[in-house]
Amino acid sequence: MSAALDTSGLSVGWPGHAPVLTGLDLRLAPGERIGLVGPNGAGKSTLFATLAGLIPPLAGQISVMGDPLPPATISARIGVLLQHSEDQLFCPTLAEDVRFGPQNQGLRGGALEARVTCALAQCDLSHLADRPVHHLSGGEKRRAAIAGLLAMQPEILLLDEPSAALDLRSRRALMGLLARMPQAMVIASHDLDMLLDLCPRILLVDAGRVQADGPAQDVLSDAALMQRHGQEVPASLRATGPVSPVAIGQRG
């Protein structure tokens, strides 16, 4: 079976600048979820921009569902939640925003409305369909941006920091939504507990290369590896029990 997303020897970086990530050979199976971990500036967002077709790769190949993707080509099969997902909501009302993508895909009439209704329902936003997007809460905005992606029926989702700045309830709702979605996903996040819950596989990138690729439990619990690359073992994998103020002090 073809991989949902396949990259070979991929180097990414902003045009005119040095590569931030090189030699990436990534195979994402249909329905698989991968967590992408790395310090700020490791190239996670640049990788997403390249896979999404916003910028051309500096080297290497990208294939989607077995079909090679020409450089800087935006594919309908890939949906991207940008790091500043609020900027993905640019239409006056939520329903109009969700309608934007499928309408550009040529959908009209009942089929279009059915797609919008379904995407809103999937993200539990049906009751907010006519609300101006700037009146939504942070968590609603994040789910609204995802509804906009789902309405285009992508096969692969690239989610950049989906849980950033969300309160606990919104984060939980978002995680429930992502867990229910059948699409193959790459989730870039510093929220390691969320990745542990959602992604069986973790890719750790740092210093321009992939530093680890393996089962989430193994990669995220490797304290030495995590520390070497500016990360911490997520709280849920640390020894249980209350942490004393002394222990916190000793960590620093």
Partner: protein, 239 residues
Amino acid sequence: MAEAAPRLPDCPRTRLLVALILAFAFASVRQITSLPLLAAFALAALVASGQPLAVLARLRAPAMLALAIALALALFSGSDTLWQAGPLHLRSDGVAAGALVALRLLAIVTLTLVLLGSLPPHKLAEALRSLGLPAILFDLVMLTLRYIDEMRARLARAEAARRLRGGGAGWRALPERAAVFATALIHGQHRADRVWAAMRLRHYGAARPATPPFGLHDLFWIGAALALAAALVWLDRAT
């Protein structure tokens, strides 16, 4: 429950078209004898709005402008003096011209407020788009409407932060204010880049929705507006 008969067209596109047809007809009135008709139209529009007091409140500024124009024309235009007090000459042809201009202006503004004033700005932009406004202009209008409040809020936050950190007031703070404004502009530019990327990712411009045809109800309103406009122009030319 039976719905009350609508006193105004529902569709923003029809409202815009009706407003344009009648506004052009009002603007073409040349005879002072047609002014009562214009006043009657404006009054009917006020009643049809269902909120005459609210519309009247919004008419205050245009009414002041109309009064100023009428006074200026009455005092400084024409030659046939009706009344004189010192250097002030009230001229009959000036009064007629002033009344014509002021009443036409007020009638057009009243009609526009009634038909379009209650529409959300984005609905008005959509109506303009359906009447042939180029897509790129329409999108610019929509994005401006979408982000102008957010830009204003961002600017206000940056200004508050400047003051909280001891920024000055008055003209001496002009360089600081300029810096705040420039920073807001740069943030706006970055945000515009991100929005553009998000639009491209959702296939912006790949297919444009077709404008739906007018319904019977809309055609009735457009026909009625055309008939009224034609009657007004004919009566005006006949007198």
